[in-house]
Amino acid sequence: MTTSTDKQGVKLGMWLFLYTEIMLFGGLFVLYAAYYTRYTEDFIAGGKVLDLWMGALNTVILLSSSFTVAAAITAVRREGKKAALVLLGISIFFGLLFLFNKYIEWGHKIAAGIYPGSSTLEAAGYGRSMFFGLYYVITGLHGLHIVIGMTLLGVSVGFILAGRVDARRFALLENAGLYWHLVDLIWIFIFPLFYLIL
């Protein structure tokens, strides 16, 4: 008995899942925008508290990791198994670096008394609480996606090592890559919303 895979179907299934993710984060962005129009002053003051350079550094890290993931797919398709493994390893390392920066950033905020329900935020008013509430929810949910993305990339590494992903069968790696790029895509919008508002 022979088995065949519907390559188009496998990919379309992944895209359909990504659409639900886009709507999930899209809803949160709409919430942000709606509160921004209501508490503009508080949101601008809140944005100034965030470290722009940390945000910019994490943007560059994520963009570079997206490049290494895309390059890993090219490597697999050109039978470059070793290159693909190295590129995926670098991508996972970039993911860890991103999370480490996030940890430092959140740590500084929490040490300064900025966290949901803190007395500092309660004194600063409802608008400021809303801004940092959204900051923790959106970047936290995004961080969770980074962890899931790194897991998927790790699984792809295992499959390449086991010879189950190669130049002929690479749908798993491609879909893990799509997920990783989506996480990057979401960060592209988080960055200006939180770090760049004047």
């Binding site: 390559k7 188009q8 990919k11 379309l12 895209w15 359909l16 659409y19 886009i22 709507m23 899209g26 809803g27 709409v30 925008a33 709606a34 129009t37 209501r38 722009l52 910019a56 943007t59 560059v60 963009l63 570079s64 997206s66 490049f67 993931v69 895309a70 390059a71 797919i73 090219t74 398709r77 050109r78 491609e174 890559g177 799509l178 790029h181 989506l182 990057d184 895509l185 592209i188 919008f189 960055f191 200006p192 760049l196 508002i197 004047l198």
Partner: protein
Amino acid sequence: MDGNPQDHVLSYSKLALVLAALIGLTSITVMVSRIDLGILNIWIAILIASLKSSLVLMFFMHLKYESRLVRISVVGTIFCLAILIGFIFWDISFR
């Protein structure tokens, strides 16, 4: 693009070019955000973010070379998101 979309492999140099463009756009958006242009700041930031996401979608996510079905469904999703955003702002601005 002609031929089977499954057969298309993006070269390393093209991917590197996309990365360079993405990092370039990031520095532009950071620089522009330091200048006070009023409401324009937000629109420029959103415009640059949209440009960057199009680059990621088209090349890193390979959308430029995918079948019509995938491409139409992506546009459909963005359209749905636009309806969500549009109607909510229609509501808030007339309250």
